[in-house]
């Protein structure tokens, strides 16, 4: 178990100050919570912060897959909560980053099996040792959501420019404690469609949600390819979306950076259009 030794070396118990526990939530499923959690975690760790990612989606574990760590997961969240396994033994260190750790969800258990009070204590323990604890919240507003929120102090709302996602995000914001100061990431934006009036714009979405805008992620094939491979694009310096995630990470870390105008790579036919003087 040489991995474990590195874990201890990298994330020693630090007394104070406590790290920030941020829940990544959306209400609606499939809007990119897990991808966002993985990439922000990777980007924050790449900046030198100690980051713990907690997959709170008990029964539907996925964060390990997005990070490419599925083969390393031996124990999970419920093992720790039920005190079968020590926290250190359940934390999986990332392949690429020395300071990024994952606590996977249990795949064969249910959200109702989680004791919320123990979850709160666990997140507190993690905050003692990590600068950031990012909690990947399951879809829905039931027990799984409550478990994911209970230990957090802040929230990131992931929302796609679709009516259903905005409605659900609005509902979730209403369920969060007022102290959470939720911030918004608009995911899967397609600027070309927005320009043509075929997609809600960031402004449209936020006219309804009215949250501080943390960032905008364009809908790029990078994400699909990266998820296929289990490599977060946030670590790829050439990736456009990776850059967006790194900017968001900088913002979370307190840097005063503007939210860049969302861009997307022009498609092949789009480029042809530009060549012939048409609109892309």
């Amino acid at each position: 178990m040489e991995v474990r030794e590195t874990e201890f070396a990298v994330a020693p118990p630090v007394p104070t100050p406590l790290g920030r526990a941020i829940v990544v939530t959306s209400g609606k499923g499939g809007v990119g919570k897990t991808t966002t959690t993985a990439n922000l975690g990777a980007a924050l760790a790449a900046r030198g912060s100690r980051v713990a990612l907690v997959d709170a989606d008990v029964g539907l574990r996925n964060l390990d897959l997005v990070l490419g760590l599925e083969a390393r997961v031996k124990h999970h969240l419920l093992d720790v909560l039920e005190e079968k396994i020590a926290l250190d033994d359940a934390l999986v260190r990332d392949k690429r980053s020395e300071t990024l750790f994952l606590l996977a969800a249990a795949q064969t258990r249910e959200k109702e099996d989680v004791d919320p009070e123990k979850m709160r204590t666990l997140v507190e323990q993690l905050r003692e040792r990590f600068d950031y604890v990012l909690i990947d919240c399951p879809a829905g507003i039931e027990q799984g959501f409550r478990n994911a929120v209970i230990g957090a102090q802040e929230a990131i709302i992931v929302c796609t420019p679709e009516v259903s996602a905005v409605r659900d995000a609005d509902r979730v914001v209403g369920l969060l404690p007022n102290t959470f100061r939720p911030q918004l990431i608009v995911n899967r934006l397609r600027p070309q469609l927005v320009k043509k009036g075929k997609m809600l714009s960031v402004e449209d979405v936020n006219a309804i949600l009215r949250l501080p805008l943390l960032g905008v992620i364009a809908d790029e094939p990078d994400i699909i390819i990266a998820t296929n491979k289990g490599e977060p694009p946030a670590l790829d310096p050439a990736s456009l979306v990776g850059g967006s995630y790194r900017t968001i990470a900088a913002k979370i870390a307190g840097e005063d950076v503007a939210v860049p105008e969302p861009r997307e790579k022009p498609s092949f036919f789009g480029s042809l259009g530009i060549l012939f003087g048409g609109r892309a």
């Binding site: 905005v166 914001v173 209403g174 809600l200 714009s201 309804i208």
Partner: protein, 161 residues
């Protein structure tokens, strides 16, 4: 008006449709998520109407209807008698049929072809009925406003037009 003609010639972009649908559905969501607000609105509404007529509170109903282009507030308040001549006992059966006051007040700014009579932006104003008669304060006020104290806000109310 200009918008109306424009819309005849050019179809609305789908994002505008999405925006409008979202606005209405969220308005409706927020209303249904705030039952105590509705209750206190209803209590206030009845109180105002009671100044002018005697009403059958048991059968009064205030609801919201999600229509095509607006959210309308519908109040059905059976009137027992005009102030001054109070009948002895309330009738055994609800008299809904005679005079159900149906106030349709939109909470929309959207251009609608069928503009309802009373257009109230967000906060319902007291309905101005005929000449005020001496107010009757016989019935006990059923409910005081309960929204002032900061309840744990499970439901976030953003009444925005």
């Amino acid at each position: 008006m200009l918008d109306f003609f424009k819309s005849l010639f050019r179809p609305q972009p789908s994002s505008a449709t999405a925006k409008e649908r979202l606005r209405l559905v969220l308005l409706s969501d927020h209303l249904s998520l705030a039952p105590d607000v509705i209750e206190s609105l209803k209590a206030d509404l009845l109180e105002v109407i009671r100044r002018y007529v005697v009403i059958d509170e048991q059968h009064a109903d205030v609801s919201f209807e999600h229509r095509e282009h607006e959210i309308a507030m519908l109040a059905s308040i059976p009137i027992v008698s005009v102030n001054g001549d109070r009948p002895a006992p309330p009738p055994p059966t609800p008299i809904r049929a005679p005079l159900p006051v149906t106030t349709a007040s939109t909470v929309t700014e959207a251009p609608t072809v069928t503009a309802p009579a009373v257009a109230v932006p967000v906060e319902p104003e007291p309905v101005q009925a005929g000449a005020p008669v001496a107010p009757v304060r016989t019935r006990r006020r059923r409910r005081r406003k309960r929204t002032a104290d900061g309840q744990p806000s499970l439901a976030q109310v953003q009444l925005q037009a």
